[in-house]
Subunit: 454 residues, 2 copies
């Protein structure tokens, strides 16, 4: 960790120590002698830290936050190309919001009747939900506990035990688990020869299920871009087929909502699921579930049961959401990032351009291949360096770790440790400068180990 980052953390933590004194002396902050001494001590400490940052001189004292929890420097000291992390990196605003709203139920300060998260005016959660719905071209949206909780809400509402739901052969495990968790069964739609699901495979699979099981699938859930290759699947065509068979279609936008423009109704989706921590610059666990007027009363149905003794009812509480979902830091982070997120999706073409630039450079390294479809339509890519970097790994004493180690020396992290055959990387959000540096670094490492670079 470089000194600036180290000292930045020291300053943050000193400020939290100061905050602790303020909390202990609330409401009036009349300090006794000891508290005054502590308070002044913290202020002195912050001044010294700022001096150290300015002069770039000082000691490295800080490693742990609390027992065994290390401070993290992946975003400050490295270029992080981890496949799942890029779109969930917090905005500056989200980081500020999380500082202010970390405490348990802090967003609930002004919860008034009818006591439901999406009715909150301060902070403006209700308005946020409405904006999210509009942003996705849907009628209504809710914040959920991650995309997988979004899937779960839909499967809970739509599927019974033994029902069949279709997913892609490249579906993420979480959508499969959401189906399995209600006792339903997931079956796969095959990828075509381009590793893509289209309306053709979808219609064939529906027919096959109908033929074999005598029933239609009750739900079809497909990722726009899958987690495996980040290939683009024909969601619009699939939605059309779903409409024809009258099967509800869930658009899985874990890798799209928040980084590229998504219009659920244009696509023909009945449900749009997004991930806050994957693509909306939010802390985990957070996500959104949006739907249409047609389905809102099904997935966001309110509780129907009543106490047999007390005759209590729980009014507007939404059953499958279990009432309020994300009451804290992830919600406020998501809300604070949202203005930036709405803007950044407009830059998607540029992000894809950067992705293709990097991949083209990588392909100049002899033997390197791309497993994902080409040209890239996404910033996440699966590459295959079996015939380039893995050849080095074969004889290197560090084996595959030589590669992650070389990258780390250049300040690059996020590739699976030791991987030199197939691995994924994501360049979302990197500036052109960083993209060029990244490409140069890969080529430098190749040259160092005498691989041919075009």
């Amino acid at each position: 960790m470089d000194l600036k980052t180290q000292k930045m953390y020291e300053a943050f933590f000193a400020l939290e120590d100061l905050r602790e004194i303020l909390r202990q002396t609330s409401p009036d902050h009349r300090f006794n002698d000891e508290q005054q001494k502590d308070f002044d001590g913290v202020l002195d400490r912050i001044n010294s830290i700022i001096d150290e940052i300015r002069s770039n001189k000082g000691n490295y004292n800080l490693k742990y936050i609390s027992k065994n929890i290390e401070i993290r420097d992946k975003e400050e000291c490295f270029i992080n190309i981890g496949p799942i992390q890029a779109g969930g990196r917090l905005t500056n605003e989200a980081r500020k919001a999380v500082i202010a709203y970390g405490d348990g139920y802090s967003v609930c300060d002004q919860c008034l009747s009818p006591f439901r998260l999406d009715y909150l005016k301060k902070p403006p959660v209700g308005e946020f939900c409405e904006e999210v719905a509009g942003f996705l071209g849907m009628d209504v949206a809710r914040v959920v506990r991650g995309a997988r909780n979004g899937f779960q809400i839909v499967t809970n509402a739509l599927l019974d035990k033994g029902d069949i739901a279709l997913v892609s052969s490249a579906a993420h495990y979480s959508v499969c688990l959401a189906i399995e968790s209600v006792g339903a069964i997931w079956k796969e739609i095959p990828l075509n020869e381009s590793n893509v699901v289209t309306e053709i495979e979808t219609a064939e699979k529906i027919e096959a299920v109908k033929e074999k099981e005598g029933v239609l699938p009750k739900l079809i859930a497909i990722s726009h871009f899958d987690y495996l290759f980040a290939n683009e699947h024909d969601v619009q065509g699939i939605a059309k087929v779903c409409k024809e068979y009258e099967i509800p279609f869930l658009y899985n936008g874990a890798y799209t909502v928040g980084i590229m423009p998504v219009n659920g109704k244009k696509i023909g989706a009945d449900f749009v699921v997004g991930s806050g921590h994957k693509s909306m610059a939010s802390p985990a666990p957070s996500g959104i579930l949006a739907t249409t007027d047609e389905f809102k009363d099904t997935v966001f149905s309110t509780t129907a049961l009543q106490g047999d003794i007390t005759k209590r009812k729980f009014g507007v509480k939404e059953t499958y959401l279990l009432g309020c979902t994300v009451m804290g830091a992830p919600l406020i982070g998501m809300m604070a990032s949202f203005p930036t997120v709405k803007e950044r999706v407009k830059n998607w073409d540029e992000e894809v351009k950067k992705s293709n630039f990097f991949i083209d450079e990588l392909l100049k390294i002899e033997g390197s291949k791309v497993v994902s479809e080409m040209p890239r339509k996404h910033t996440l890519t699966k590459v295959d360096t079996t015939d380039s970097f893995d050849k080095i790994a074969g004889t290197h004493k560090k084996k595959g770790y030589f590669f992650t180690s070389e990258l780390k020396k250049k300040g690059i992290v996020g590739i699976f440790p030791g991987a030199t055959r197939e691995f994924k990387l994501n360049v979302y959000g990197l500036s052109w400068d960083k993209i060029r540096y990244l490409a140069d670094s890969f080529k430098d490492i190749a040259r160092k180990y005498e691989l041919d670079v075009k």
Copy 2:
């Protein structure tokens, strides 16, 4: 907001601006002229802010974090006696951890095979889960997305459509929704004349269900202390009855786990559910679900299905948990708070003593009553001031709001706005000084409005 708190936030936010520059210039932080200027500017700004804090002089410039999201001062500038917030207030360590691990998947940096949250060594999530299990006297524990997600995992695993589960007549809506969400039905065990559920009412209700429905309930879920009165229910006796009927017993520790000692096996619980944001000093949404060796394979069962085309299986992923649960800030906050939480439960008697002291003082105000059982065994209490403060509200031009307004002037927040009849408050974690100040404040307000104070 007082100046110190205001300036504290300004310093935090300036540090985030500095961090943003570090992020944009990673990995080497070689600044161009403009970046250097910005960086120096932030350092200057922090120095000025520290000067302002020191001299307690300066302007109030900061109100919003991001569009419409206000900075929050409930813990720094007030004594917060909100009924649900006290146990979820972050520790200093948790606040530091959240700063370091706010980014989406930040805890996943070192996720290695078999790729499951509770296998993580860095940060030590696995160790944490084991410690939580031990702390609760149970065999195995997992982090979940709030207590309600803990209920949901159990109801998903144990209940089928139409099954009956028993809850208390004072049960929180979230446990009822968790039951309803799987198509099961909740029925209520009545409170006795002391507003408490004991083994007697439980056994009678089981028999009544058996008699009327011809089946036994499949689950009994009872709060140790309920949310309505924070009365203590006879969980040990109830557990005994459950054992006799071989009905699984879920101990709802939303108001106990993390603030008082809880030993699930001694109680006889099959499941212990705790809430991170309610009682474990963690950001929302977070919670824990602990169980025994007998039930672990049922509730934490791993996925059994397989892709019909790809033959994929998802190995160790736990179906009802949907794989990994809380990947971010709430998890790291919970972990960072845990050493403090383990210690603080030992002070529960003192917390209850403070609670009783405050309540006794409140009762000195003519006409004031307590709805909860007495003496208090908890820090959360429902009081009834219909014959004291509500009499003032009847003629005051602000109506009930006079009371919250008077309290606010004294730096006390958390009581439901406008409430002067029955309302709840929670004094958990307040120092004796604050407790005395709180009691004096209530009495001062009473005297101001000419209520008799003994």
